[in-house]
């Protein structure tokens, strides 16, 4: 296990190195950060002086080398726009996204498992067909449309839900300001998490259904039926456990994707998280922040995949994680 984790750690470092190199090489394509820092009528000379001061005129490898040297000390540079270390900015925005993803994950888990199992066990029933039909609709409506529809119905027409932002926050500690502990904060969480759930839930319902149906066809389940086990035991213990493996794999990848790309939901709801941060950083050509963000997301992906691999071993002892000989 230890060797496995060390190996994964090295992998993470490598991934982040590669991402930083890619991020660094594309940053010049994104635009000129200096343009966003000065008014339009400012002379070329002044802009050039600022570029020089920020070290943007140095050759690529000198800039990259300087970046790496600082990165080794945990300093990914300073966001041009926020005027603060990029790491601080990312950490201060991360709780917003994590809370949103957390609530969404709970919603997805709570609804997808029973619905998926139901559809697998009774594939021909009317309700199952309805769920499957609804899931196609759910997958095909883009999330920003769902979000705008929610705002239109519940904020504008009915006036019962707040339309934007995170509401009242409570300071938990460090960078963490949470909206999970106030009524107002929870109310603000409702619509963004529903919007986000609307794309994730159908995917998981369908996945669980398909996997479970396959398992239900397998030899050992038939044997279990022949043996005269109770249906509940067959469905929920023997069949469901084996359904979980592929679901966890996809779930892990999707969780990473959720954290990284809540972009649309966050921009519609003015949710001040990482997705929103990313969009704004691109627009402002805040390149330091952008590169730090990419590195952070790369790290999150590796971390989640590692956790998924560990959980794998717990769910199915047949799977031996690499490194454990």
């Amino acid at each position: 296990m230890f060797a496995f984790i060390v190996r994964r750690f090295l992998q993470a470092v490598f991934v982040m190195l590669v991402i930083s190199l890619i991020g660094f090489s594309i940053q010049h394509q994104i635009g000129d950060p200096v343009r966003d820092l000065v008014g339009i009528s400012v002379s070329k000379k002044e802009r050039e002086a600022l570029r020089e001061k920020l070290g943007l005129n140095d050759p690529f490898f000198i800039q990259y080398g300087r970046f790496l040297k600082k990165a080794l000390h945990g300093d990914l540079g300073r966001s041009f726009f926020y005027k603060k270390p990029a790491v601080d900015v990312i950490l201060s925005k991360a709780p917003a996204t994590l809370e949103l993803v957390f609530v969404t994950s709970i919603l997805v888990i709570v609804f997808s498992i029973p619905l998926g199992i139901y559809c697998a066990i009774f594939p021909k029933k009317f309700l199952s067909r309805l769920i499957m039909g609804a899931s196609v609709v759910g997958v095909s409506i883009p999330v920003f449309l769902t979000a705008i529809m929610l705002i239109y119905i519940f904020s504008v027409k009915l006036g019962v839900m707040p339309s934007f932002g995170r509401g009242e926050l409570v300071h938990i500690g460090g960078y963490w300001y949470s909206g999970l502990f106030t009524w107002d904060g929870l109310k603000h969480l409702v619509m963004p998490s529903i919007a986000l759930t609307s794309i994730m839930l159908p995917l998981f319902v369908r996945l669980i259904r398909a996997e479970m149906m396959e398992v239900l066809e397998s030899e050992y389940i038939r044997f279990a039926w022949a043996k005269g086990l109770k249906p509940k035991r067959i469905w929920f213990v023997h069949a469901f456990k084996n359904t979980l493996l592929p679901v966890i794999t996809v779930g892990g990848v999707q969780l990473g994707t959720l954290i990284a790309f809540t972009i649309l939901t966050e921009s519609v709801f003015q949710w001040q998280g990482l997705g929103f941060l990313f969009v704004e950083a691109v627009e402002r050509a805040d390149t330091t922040l952008l590169v730090s963000y990419l590195i952070f997301v790369g790290f999150v992906f590796v971390l989640i995949n590692t956790l998924v691999d560990i959980i794998y071993g717990l769910v199915n002892p047949m799977v031996r994680i690499t490194g454990k000989k």
Binding site: Q29, I30, G31, D32, R35, D36, L37, V38, G39, I40, S41, V42, S43, K44, K45, E46, A49, L50, L54, R78, F80, F81, Y82, K83, K84, I148, I151, Y152, S155, V156, G159, P162, S163, F164, G165, E168, H171, S267, V268, F269, Q270, Q272, F276, E280, V282, E283, R284, A285
Partner: protein
């Protein structure tokens, strides 16, 4: 910062606990929040809007483009290069320090150090302090726009900003990309004090109890939230989560107008949208007849009606009404038959192919406008290959003169006609900086001469004649393709009684004067 943060949080909490019995709170949503608390860090609409809240200028613009006394109570011209300003007495900064002429001189010296403002304040020499409440503002030569520039002098508390902060950095340092004392602290004379600020998330501004102007509005607190997404910003207003939004996306104008609880306020602005035809890249564009043909082929009245939904003013020249250089007879000139005729006369009856670039998130409907113009030009057989891109990439392309036809919008910082030509149409010159955004390379020595003359002409009538002459020459030469002047738009709850009186062409709403029900 941490202290400021917890202070803000404390205020927030206490507000929630005790409720706001009588206090009037304005909830304001803009597309972006000001980037700093230092008014000199950037010359941008957002920063000037902030300055109007927290600081006071010497004079400010009224809705009909006159000057209104603020920290200067009156002024008189002593000689062609000097204007004497008499300052208001009994004014206090947020720190408690009294406001005097010394602060004005100090602020002007700082403006000359700011990379963004130093260009505008280039014509100014060192001011002379006469006594505590009298100051002579002196220009290096005769300068007609001295008062226009006085609207940018927001005196800062010289005592408060002097010395070193805890990092050993001078308190008056102007820092664009890092922390500085002025970026996170303020002491102005304005109606509002920044009580809490989390950049990009929320600002809380509280009325300053010692504010000098007792006849101002009745808003005690402003909560400013940036809401970037257009649809969300409008939804926040419609649902009553905010009271005032700016800007308003054109597609939502009618929805807001129809709502009985809301008011839509629009006003013609001074930002003109134009296309420049690059004569260096395309020999065809060096031919005046081709340029004229293009201007005749572009139906900008149609663009305003169809794409801008009537919320823009079609233009035939650079200066909008109310500007000195405005010539009423220079109107839009769409005439397709004439355009075709001109192309034939120029020797291009079969047209040619050329490239065009435009931003897609900088001006209102910029991408759609560019598409419309491209298709209009196809009617005179000019095949346009259009490429649009986000503003972050656009300006590099613009500076590189990457296409034959390039879009640019311009609002003069000086609120004066000459500024358009100085940046957009004077012969490009690296040394003087004139023609910095002249991607068409239009170069007419007569225009240059007239503009330079206008810069030092202090007689208003004479200056008006010069600037009007420039507009006529540019019109005849078809130096650029004029489209329209964008309208400014704001929308507010009807609770805000005088919302339509506090806005202006500069887009600096004077929230200090707002009266709330």
């Amino acid at each position: 910062m941490r202290k400021l943060f917890s202070l803000g949080l404390g205020i927030l909490l206490s507000l929630c606990l005790f409720g706001l019995a009588n206090a009037k709170t304005l909830r304001l949503a803009m597309d972006a929040d000001p980037v700093s608390m230092d008014p000199h860090v950037q010359l941008s609409g957002g920063m000037l809007q902030y300055s109007q809240l927290v600081f006071d200028p010497l004079v400010r613009w009224t809705q009909d483009m006159k000057f209104e006394p603020r920290l200067a109570v009156k002024w008189e011209r002593l000689n062609p290069t000097t204007v004497r300003f008499y300052l208001r007495k009994g004014v206090k900064f947020h720190s408690g320090n009294p406001f005097t002429a010394k602060d004005v001189a100090w602020t002007m010296a700082r403006l000359k150090k700011s990379p963004d403002f130093k260009g505008l304040f280039e014509p100014f020499a060192e001011p002379k302090i006469v006594d505590d409440y009298t100051i002579d503002i002196i220009t290096k030569g005769p300068y007609p726009l001295l008062l226009n520039m006085a609207t940018y002098i927001f005196p800062m508390d010289s005592k408060f900003y002097t010395g070193k902060d805890e990092n050993g950095q001078p308190k008056d340092a102007i820092v664009k990309t890092g922390p500085s004392f002025a970026n996170s602290h303020e002491s102005g004379t304005g109606k509002y004090v920044v009580a809490y600020r989390e950049q990009g998330v929320k600002w809380i501004l509280k009325a300053f109890k010692d504010y000098w102007d007792k006849n101002s509005g009745n808003v005690d607190e402003i909560i400013l939230t940036p809401i970037k997404n257009d649809a969300t910003r409008v939804a926040a207003l419609l649902s009553g989560d905010v009271d005032f939004i700016m800007p308003v996306p054109p597609q939502d104008y009618s929805r807001i107008e129809k709502n009985p609880n809301l008011q839509l306020i629009t006003m013609p602005g001074a930002r003109i949208i134009t296309f420049q035809l690059n004569q260096k890249r395309r020999p065809e564009f060096a031919n005046k007849k081709v340029r004229q043909a293009i201007v005749y082929a572009v139906n900008n009245v149609g663009i305003v009606e169809k794409i801008m939904k009537g919320k823009a003013t079609p233009a035939g020249q650079q200066s909008p009404e109310g500007f000195l250089g405005h010539v009423p007879e220079l109107t839009p000139r769409y005439d397709l038959a004439k355009a075709k005729q001109l192309m034939k006369e120029a020797g291009y009856p079969n047209g040619f192919e050329c490239s065009m670039i435009a931003p897609n998130n900088r001006y209102v409907n910029d991408e759609k406008i560019a598409e419309a113009v491209a298709s209009m030009l196809s009617k005179i057989n000019i095949k346009v290959n259009l490429k649009t891109m986000p503003k972050a990439q656009y300006w590099d392309q613009f500076d590189a003169r990457a296409a034959d036809i390039q879009m640019i919008g311009w609002h003069p910082d000086t609120e004066d006609s000459a500024n358009y030509t100085e940046f957009l149409l004077m012969c490009p010159d690296e040394k003087t900086g004139y023609g910095q955004y002249n991607s068409g390379n239009y170069c007419n020595p007569e225009v240059d001469k007239l503009i330079l003359q206008a810069q030092t002409e202090t007689n208003v009538e004479k200056r008006k004649a010069i600037l009007q002459k420039v507009e006529r020459i540019l019109y005849e030469d078809a130096a650029f393709v004029p489209l329209h002047w964008q309208h400014l738009s704001w929308a507010a709850s009807k609770k805000l009684k005088n919302a339509k009186d506090i806005v202006n062409k500069q887009n600096f709403p004077y929230f200090g004067n707002l009266i709330m029900e």
